[in-house]
């Protein structure tokens, strides 16, 4: 009888201790995030259209909408932490933030210290011309022979400036910078420019919408695949985010976002 009492009290004590432990230490980072009910995501909100602030200081952009949806599907609140781009990777490494989305391109060098999700978006570039365009573009650099339009401050703008204008292949006066891609596409229809360089997804949308235009080349020139940064070796969070990204890709959510943010 005495033994049973001791045994039962031991079990009670053990179960209290175990439950106390279970409450404070989650099995892994993903569990910890779910337990806290909030994921802290870092971004550098100065890179429209991927991430920026609107006139009320709210975060807006492609990455912002995407991460909001990911957090929703993880079943947690999203807390944004705004930092300069250079601080983001260090902050993920140090565990100050759970992940970071800021139009990161994969690089082997970065992969040494942190991990990447699957690519959520590969920004392919496209050259669009008016139907009946007489020239030929087989090689990206062939566009240097024409009057070319681009959106100011985009990666395409840098690509054209660095690889064609700076090397003297494209005269500066033949590069036309526009505020919006759709304005440029209208000028392309009207023959004011001969080639328009932009992101592929919005180009496709505009070609369909405006008519009389056709895409003659698409490929990765100016940027490449974009990935979410997560802590090194964090397999569970990586898997969870990758699964959601796959769903979003299949549902067309990401293409819709691309049209929403890159078409204007």
């Amino acid at each position: 009888m005495k033994r049973i009492v001791v045994l039962v009290s031991l079990l009670v004590v053990a179960s209290i201790l175990l439950s106390a432990c279970g409450g404070s230490t989650a099995a892994n980072h993903l569990e910890a995030i779910k337990e806290a009910g909030v994921i802290k995501v870092g971004t550098s909100a100065d890179y429209p259209p991927f991430e920026s602030v609107d006139e009320n200081g709210n975060k807006v952009g492609f990455d912002v909408d995407l991460m909001t949806e990911i957090a929703k599907r993880l079943g947690v609140e999203l807390e944004w932490v705004d930092m300069p781009f250079d601080s983001l990777i260090a902050a993920v490494q140090e565990g100050k933030i759970d992940a970071s989305i800021s139009a990161f391109n994969y690089s082997e060098e970065r992969d040494q210290t942190i991990d990447f999700s699957d690519a959520y978006y590969t920004s392919e570039d496209a050259f669009t011309v008016a139907e009946g365009f007489a020239g030929t573009i087989t090689n990206p650099e062939d566009v240097a022979a024409y009057k070319i339009g681009v959106q100011t401050g985009t990666t395409q703008d840098s690509w054209l400036t660095d690889t064609l204008v700076a090397t003297g292949k494209l005269p500066e006066e033949n590069l036309f910078r526009y505020d919006r891609v759709d304005q440029a596409m209208l000028d392309l229809q009207n023959g004011r420019i001969e080639v328009m360089m932009s992101d592929f997804v919005p180009a496709q949308a505009l070609v369909e919408e405006l008519g009389g235009l056709t895409i003659v080349y698409n490929g990765v020139l100016s940027s490449g695949p974009m990935n979410i940064v997560i802590p090194n070796g964090d397999a569970e969070l990586q898997q969870a985010i990758n699964d959601i990204l796959k769903q979003l890709q299949e549902e067309g959510f990401i293409d819709e976002l691309a049209v929403k943010y890159f078409a204007e």
Partner: protein, 225 residues
């Protein structure tokens, strides 16, 4: 059509202006934590350096040398990762502000040390001769004079800390400069964005310096010119 500004720019700017002004509260907050914290720490180190024994004196000198020999942003990062690590876990605001205070304490220490020395050893000797303890002499004779002498050079440090508070944005605290960067990125109007930031900093520094000038004037001793 080329590079035409978006038609909605101006209403947007007035909203943005208020967005940057909200950052001003953070800048002031950081300064109000860093400056007094640095003053306390700096005063302690200055007293140790001036009146402490041989070894404390050395340690205080090394403290000052190390902290002033490293760029504030580097120290800020190192201190931030200590103050906001696994053991002590402060928010970026507190970690950033206290780190800035520690950086500033070394400079404030030198300002106060200069002021303590300017009071002169004769006063200490005289105080001791009439039977005061060292601590009493520091408290009632030397320090009241030294603090007054320190105000003008200290106002210099105050404006430096106010402007250096922009460094905490590297830790993710969205003060004036960070908000100006965001405004610049969204509107593509860098001159305007940084212009607003410069104006706010100028007003803050100007007001601080005038207030300290006034304090200096009000507390001036008749024995001092």
């Amino acid at each position: 059509m080329l590079r035409s500004p978006a038609p909605t720019l101006y209403p947007m700017l007035s909203n943005f202006f208020s967005y940057i002004v909200q950052g001003t509260a953070i800048t002031i907050g950081v300064t109000l934590v860093a400056l007094p914290f640095g003053l306390l720490l700096g005063l302690l180190m200055a007293l140790v350096h001036t009146y402490g024994g041989k070894i404390p004196n050395r340690l205080a000198a090394i403290y000052s040398l190390l902290l002033r020999g490293v760029p504030p942003i580097v120290l800020l990062f190192i201190l931030y990762f200590i103050l906001s690590g696994k053991v002590i876990n402060l928010t970026p605001f507190w970690a950033g502000s206290l780190s800035l205070g520690i950086v500033s304490s070394a400079y404030q220490m030198e300002i106060l040390r200069g002021a303590l020395l300017a009071v002169g050893g004769g006063q200490m000797t005289a105080a001791r001769a009439i039977g005061m303890s060292r601590l009493q002499a520091i408290q009632t004779i030397v320090l009241p004079q030294a603090l007054r002498l320190a105000i003008p050079p200290w106002s210099n440090e105050a404006s430096i800390v106010l402007k250096d508070s922009s460094l905490v944005y590297a830790l993710g605290v969205p003060e004036i400069l960070r908000r100006a960067q965001q405004l610049s990125a969204t509107t593509q109007q860098p001159f305007l964005a940084y212009g607003i930031a410069a104006l706010i900093y100028f007003v803050l520094v100007f007001a601080t310096n005038r207030a300290l000038d006034y304090l200096s004037e009000r507390t001036k001793l008749p024995t001092h010119p």
